[in-house]
């Protein structure tokens, strides 16, 4: 292959990857061309790895890359590469339509107060309560989310900075001052450890019985992820889905559109236990939850074995710094945690809170700000 032919190939392939949703900047293209220049082009395996290692930087993009590579270089008979952007546009227009229709109709009221209904009845109604919030409320919730974010639980960093009331001598500064006094530490500059936000992991139930709160909760997740540092968001229904990437945009509407698309089991039943299990296996193992404050947002309606919830909550609580369970049903004064899943989970929960309205979210913010570990390590 001629040098220019390689460049052309790589540039076009980069475009194919971009279409598939992999971010490929010009720097990567240059690396790929250099990489191909260094390997034996007659060996397919080497060409594959040289391209993969220069063009892909995330594990979850590997499958997409493999399909694109097969399609492009091997012209294999495989499924066409998914064009994520088109789907996204579609999803966001669905959300917009839902919002529009909600503005001029009150039919959402028919859904009744889901707090009075069991999971199955509510699921039958299948009215998405996305619409219950007016744009003003939407803005207010956003502002509140940002307040919650600012009062994140904190941990002490190992890094120290100058602080007259600090607990450790700042040796570097002291020595400089000693120069003037011939080695006598006349005055002592101190420094102390800074406080930095503690890791926060949010697991949000988006199943049928949680529909009414889904939109508010996704705003909540969006604001949390927006702070960028150490926040991980997940949605679950029948399966678990990591949302951190989908929610990492400035525009909440776009974020919600992406999240809606991502949580494919939107509005279906719940398998809390298996979702927690999936979290523990896939993310807990990678220490995502270690030392973190974990917030589970769910009504505790479990389809399957509540025993699994208990076992998985035990694992989660062991790794986490503290576990907070937010149950919108708790907003009802008559609510008793009778649902099997909820009962199984409670022994491992440090704080059990409602999350059904703004006031209760303010309460959640206050609890998160001052949270202390209650359960035994």
């Amino acid at each position: 292959m001629q040098g220019t032919a390689i460049v052309r190939h790589v540039v076009t392939f980069g475009r194919v990857l971009r279409e598939a949703g992999i971010e490929v900047g010009p720097g990567r293209i240059v690396d790929a061309v250099h990489g191909l220049g260094a390997v034996d082009l007659t060996r397919q395996e080497d060409v594959y790895f040289a391209l993969r290692q220069t063009l892909v930087s995330r594990h979850d993009e590997l499958e997409l890359f493999d399909r694109a590579f097969t399609a492009w270089f091997l012209r294999g008979p495989i499924a066409p590469v998914v064009r994520q952007r088109q789907e996204r546009r579609f999803a966001s227009s669905v959300v917009r339509d839902t919002l529009e229709s909600a503005k001029d109709g009150d039919e959402v009221e028919v859904a009744g107060d889901p707090r009075e209904l069991g999971a199955s009845e509510h699921e039958l109604l299948r009215e998405k309560d996305f619409a219950e919030m007016t744009p003003e409320e939407f803005e207010r919730v956003r502002a509140l989310m940002e307040a919650i974010v600012r009062t994140r639980p904190r941990r002490t960093s190992r890094r120290r900075s100058p602080d007259p009331r600090g607990d450790v001598l700042d040796m570097r500064r002291m020595l400089r001052r000693c120069l003037r006094s011939g080695g006598d530490p006349v005055d002592q500059p101190w420094k102390s450890r800074k406080e930095v936000p503690r890791k926060l992991v949010v697991l949000c139930d988006v199943s049928g019985s949680m529909d009414a709160y889904a939109r508010a909760l996704l705003l909540f997740l969006h604001a949390l992820v927006g702070t960028g540092h150490g926040v991980e968001a997940f949605a679950f229904g029948t399966r678990l889905r990591r949302l951190t990437g989908d929610l990492a945009t400035r525009d909440p509407e776009a974020a919600i559109a992406r999240a809606t698309e991502a949580a494919v089991d939107w509005g279906s039943g719940t398998r809390i236990g298996s979702a927690l299990q999936e979290f523990n296996v896939t993310y807990g193992r990678r220490a995502l939850s270690r030392g973190a404050v974990v917030v589970v947002v769910s009504d505790g309606w479990e389809r399957d074995d509540p025993g699994l919830i208990g076992r998985e909550m035990a694992k989660l609580a062991r790794a986490a710094y503290a576990v907070v369970w937010v149950n919108p049903l708790k907003g009802n004064p008559e609510y008793q945690p009778l649902a099997g899943g909820m009962r199984a989970a409670l022994p491992f929960v440090d704080r059990f809170l409602a999350g059904h309205n703004l006031r209760s979210l303010e309460e959640l913010a206050a609890v998160l700000a001052g949270i202390e570990r209650r359960h035994a390590a």
């Binding site: 395996e45 790895f49 290692q53 930095v196 150490g230």
Partner: protein, 300 residues
Amino acid sequence: MYAAAVTFRTIDELEAALRAADYLPDRGLSTALFLSLALEKPVLLEGEAGVGKTEAAKALATALEARLIRLQCYEGLDVSHAVYEWNYPRQLLHIRAAQEGTVSEEELFGPEFLIRRPLLEAIDSDEQVVLLIDEIDRADEEFEAFLLEVLSDFQITIPELGTIRAQRVPAVVLTSNRTRELHDALKRRALFHWIGHPSIEREIDIVKLRVPGIPERLAAEAAAFVRGLRGLDLAKPPGVAETIDWAHALAALGREEIDAEVVEQTLGSVLKYREDIEAVRDETLAGLVEEARATAGKSR
């Protein structure tokens, strides 16, 4: 430039050198390390715990006949542990020993009183080095940003001494267990390679290489058994490192093959969590042993 004493013109040459260093890479890893040297770019190795990420860097150092400098990352890692620190006790002694007013600030903060930590050591070395930045995902993001600067320019600025530039770009291997996604900017700087668990054949070869004299049959059964464990829902699935440890234990016991009894006795060197050991006991264990023996029989 990598004016290395040892250079590799092809992936095969590097692969042979890694094998000579008792490390059996797959083609993808060899390609990644080769490209890292050829393009003078850091390589980021990601994968589950125990797939040999750290070992790969060590083997690369051996292959290059270069010094390995390792920076183990952890939450709260800061410049004084990663780059440099001043030797305060010596500085204080120096001031006291000298006549009052004769020590200048330049003298006090001179190279003589500098403690070099791994990053400075690697940048300021005049011989070929392999810099291993291990478990970068454990360091906090502020440190990651700092590291990005260092890996972009291969230079470090010490306020009192000025800027120190790398005389030769070190080979840099970063590893991550993916407890969090790294910053995109850092990833753009590096080549990326995902290391999966090895194929059964490769794992058997690795065991035979690392446990010299192990009976062929035992190596195959151990590898097959551990592979079976990885298919279960465990808190910490065993990596290749655990297979090797376990094979050592089995060989030391003078076994030719595995059976339920010996597995039960030695399970602690494969599984590190009590719940995992409990989950595998009894029927599961007997079934896995049977399966492993059957698989091992087929693969040889």
